[in-house]
Assembly symmetry: C2
Homo-oligomer: 149 residues x 2
DNA sequence: CTTCCTGCAAACAATTTGCAGACAG
DNA sequence: CTGTCTGCAAATTGTTTGCAGGAAG
């Protein structure tokens, strides 16, 4: 029984295909992206990577992220004030649900978006490449705590 | 025949209501936001304002924008790499159509979004406050030019 | 008058870059 | 071996902040 290729597998394959080298540091970054449940920032990735490769610097993390972005293997969520967040599990455009209190980001199911995009492309004449749909709110957990923050 | 209150009017009223002072520099920033067709950045606002008030600094522009953000009279579109853009005409969440070549931003009509938001709030348990929906693509004009960039 | 605002300059923080040595292929 | 990658440190850039003098109300 063959196992389906994991995200890590496809990231590695893509990198090799395109002639990028698989260094231990790079591999460590890939693993964090492929396994992390949430949407980590560069610093969070760095913290995890440093456990296995203490010499790694944040610059290397950023450089790896840049490579992955350029080949479409990671989705970058930009925030001007806060640090950017990365999604290596679903590296394509999709909606996000962001709690403005705890900053947790989750992926809601929203079927109708594709139709909307298609219609918009047709009507506007734009060649649509990606989109970004973020909902900002207070997650149930933070509502319960209802702390003064 | 009475004229409907303009965006500038309502911005001014809101500021006065809340006890903020109307300085000439502030007024100039408001005017740019209320009249500008596009989605200017801080620097662009600054450039225009400086024509009438040469002593104005970019810090004052940012401080005014901060006030307006805090009272919900301007919408800030955050970009990590590029500078942020501001929308003073429609200071509430709405979709944007962004050309990745010329960086122009326009507002498409997309009716169905409200339903989507309502449904999501119900199903996720989040208290939804705002959202951000950005489509990135190549505008018709840039497609035509099809320049190497 | 008093408080808030402006202008200036310095501070910030996330991200990027240049370069010399290291190492994957 | 050779070209790419790493690690270090410095640079970048949009935005923010502190403070003293200025002006709105």
């Amino acid at each position: 029984m063959e196992r389906a290729p994991t995200r890590l597998d496809s990231m590695l394959r893509k990198l090799r295909e395109l002639g990028f080298r698989i260094t231990p540091q790079r591999l460590a970054v890939l693993k964090v992206l492929a396994e992390s449940k949430g949407h980590p920032g560069a610093e969070e990735i760095y913290t995890v990577v440093r456990k296995s490769f203490p010499t790694t610097t944040i610059a290397t993390v950023y450089k790896t992220l840049a490579v992955l972005k350029s080949i479409g293997e990671v989705l970058e969520l930009e925030f001007s004030g806060d640090y950017n967040r990365y999604d290596g599990k679903k590296p394509y455009s999709h909606p996000h649900l962001i709690c403005i209190k705890c900053k947790r980001i989750v992926d809601p199911e929203l079927a109708s978006l594709a139709d909307m995009t298609e219609k918009l492309a047709r009507e506007s004449g734009y060649k649509l490449l990606t989109h970004r749909l973020d909902f900002y709110g207070i997650c149930p957990r933070c509502q319960k705590k209802d702390n003064a923050d």
